[in-house]
Symmetry: C2
Subunit: 339 residues, 2 copies
DNA sequence: TTGAAAGCGCTAACAG
DNA sequence: CTGTTAGCGCTTTCAA
């Protein structure tokens, strides 16, 4: 039993293809008897109009492409979830690709999407792309007049709708909070120092220090590469002239930091306060539970999907591009002192 | 600057569409001068063949549809990751939909996929579908002769390729392990008692008890619904005639159980051993770290993608359907005693 | 009330 | 070497 087409139905009934098409679409132009017969037949044989043909005709696919750097990262999983929920609600499907932080994979995917496969796309830049700072492939995509929304890891060089986390303010306020609870030597541990997001957080952190008359020291800004030994790096912070707070820029690192601090027999939060970014599944369950900055990933996804679909469906009136700044919240738990 | 087509190029050069097509595809039939000119022009204008048109023509989309019940569940995230990696490696793209455990959403998605959108599909059943035990929509899909691979949550009523975890053996061996370390009263806490997977694990558990001459008691089989109070349910296990081991059938529950047991001032693992299913990100980081059953999600995804693509690309020779049984591993950590 | 024809963008067999 | 034609599956005028 192969896939049945209008042609097949037409020939079994000895009528033309267009008649069948109209009958199936319940057109008033067709006699009700014939319509009934054809519709019944179609139902019995599980006729489904071929989407590819329809898309080609309509020049619309009702799908949106999503490019995330890494689906195993819980923040992106949450955003992805938000996008999917909203897109589905508004009648769109998702086609997704992970770049695995690779610049080349990103280019390939963008090319795929720009070939008529999707009505619009939502993406967050790969780490490699941000490090290279090369977004020519996206400029071309924009040239193709396909709507695009960037989120979280965005580029100034591209003019399009954006949804970003207020990372500057998040780090600024979080650092301020630590200071208010009595911390004076606050370190930052970052695995994402190449990304726009990582840089903004460092800036916010520095601003807070400055405003409170605390000096920034280079040794407090710890950059962790993939195969660095975090334990060793933290020794420099904890052994002599120890810090009294550590802000980790992602969840896994926050948990790692917590474990290492405990291993060194420092009391959390009495001796060292710990706070992390991305409120995922880990932080609530470790002990002491970690204070975290929540970025509201699901909401970001929903927002991005809405902006994209709005633009897809209003292609006539070209609205100016906008950038939504999503506020974070500090989820206070047991790893920081209270004011 | 709209999307450019062969027609546009043809008219600017005053040649026919097919000439342009051949030129762009570097056919030997075209003079090298003309080819050069056309190719240059195409490059300058970022010409990309319309995928929709190609797909319609070739009757192949080089995409595979993936349906998972819940992307926020780390096991499914891992499988998804595995599918994507393998599919990309073999030249396929992924179009994904989450059912959110809903039967209706599953039907809708399957219908979408069966309309020529994908070359094949990979799915794991929604909880609702398994509870209803109604898979008519999948039978229809199979009727459309589109290759399908089911994984993890599968149905006996459908004949297709499958990749499943050896859940029976996993629970059997895990229970055996607990018994070997001296546990005698072993409880199971399940949130997935409706699913095929959940049932198999209970069966394996019972078999192990039986073989070691331990009696199964109904009160040891705890079924947790969404809004049940786990703490209360565990009281019945821990307060009088307390159990000495608890096997949780998912990771979140394992962590919850651990926290509740600690709250009740029971020593883990001395008084109560705890073991959970799905080795995700949580279990390593809690204290004591949890012993977990790893299902090798990424590997399952890769396997499923391979089976599907093999079938897509060998549609001529109809191989018999096969079911791959993936063995689990017990990752021993601090929440269980050693033998 | 039905059908013929054109066209979405592309390729490929076949002529010229 | 280049062009004509047909066709992938469908909708939509426009004729009959």
């Amino acid at each position: 039993m192969k896939k049945i087409t209008l042609k097949d139905i037409a020939s079994t009934f000895g009528v033309s293809i267009s008649t069948v098409s109209k009958a199936i679409n319940d057109s008033h132009e067709i006699s009700s008897e014939l319509k009934a017969k054809i519709q019944q037949f179609a139902k019995d044989h599980h006729y489904r109009p071929n989407r590819l043909a329809l898309n080609l005709l309509k020049k619309s696919t009702k799908t949106i492409g999503v490019i995330v750097p890494n689906i195993l990262n819980y923040f992106f999983t949450q955003v992805f979830y938000g996008i999917e929920q909203m897109a589905n609600k508004r009648g769109y499907n998702i086609i997704s690709c992970t770049t695995n932080e690779s610049y080349l994979k990103e280019i390939k995917t963008v090319e795929l999407f720009s070939a008529g496969t999707v009505d619009g796309m939502i993406l967050s830049l790969a780490e490699e792309t941000q490090a290279k700072d090369d977004v020519e492939h996206l400029k071309e995509f924009m040239g193709a007049r396909i709507p695009m929304v960037m989120f979280d890891r965005v580029s100034d060089k591209i003019e399009c709708d954006k949804v970003i986390v207020d990372d500057f303010e998040a780090a600024y306020k979080t650092t301020g909070h630590l200071i208010k609870t009595g911390c004076r030597k606050i370190a930052v541990v970052s695995t994402i120092f190449n990304s726009s997001v990582g840089k903004l957080r460092i800036d916010g952190y520095k601003k807070a220090l400055e405003e409170h008359g605390l000096a920034f020291e280079e040794r407090l800004n710890v950059q962790v590469n993939k195969d660095d030994d975090l334990e060793l790096l933290l020794s420099f912070l904890l052994d002599d002239d120890p810090v009294d707070a550590i802000m980790a820029l992602d969840e896994m690192t926050a948990v790692d930091v917590l474990n290492i601090v405990k291993l060194k027999n420092k009391a959390v939060p009495e001796e060292v306060s710990i706070v992390g970014f991305t409120n995922g599944r880990l932080s609530k369950y470790v002990s002491p539970a970690l204070t975290m900055v929540s970025q509201h990933g699901k909401y970001i996804g929903e927002m991005a999907a809405n902006m994209l679909i709005d633009r897809i469906e209003n292609e006539g009136d070209d609205l100016p591009f906008s950038t939504k700044l999503i506020k974070t919240s500090l989820i206070e738990r047991a790893s920081t002192k209270s004011c």
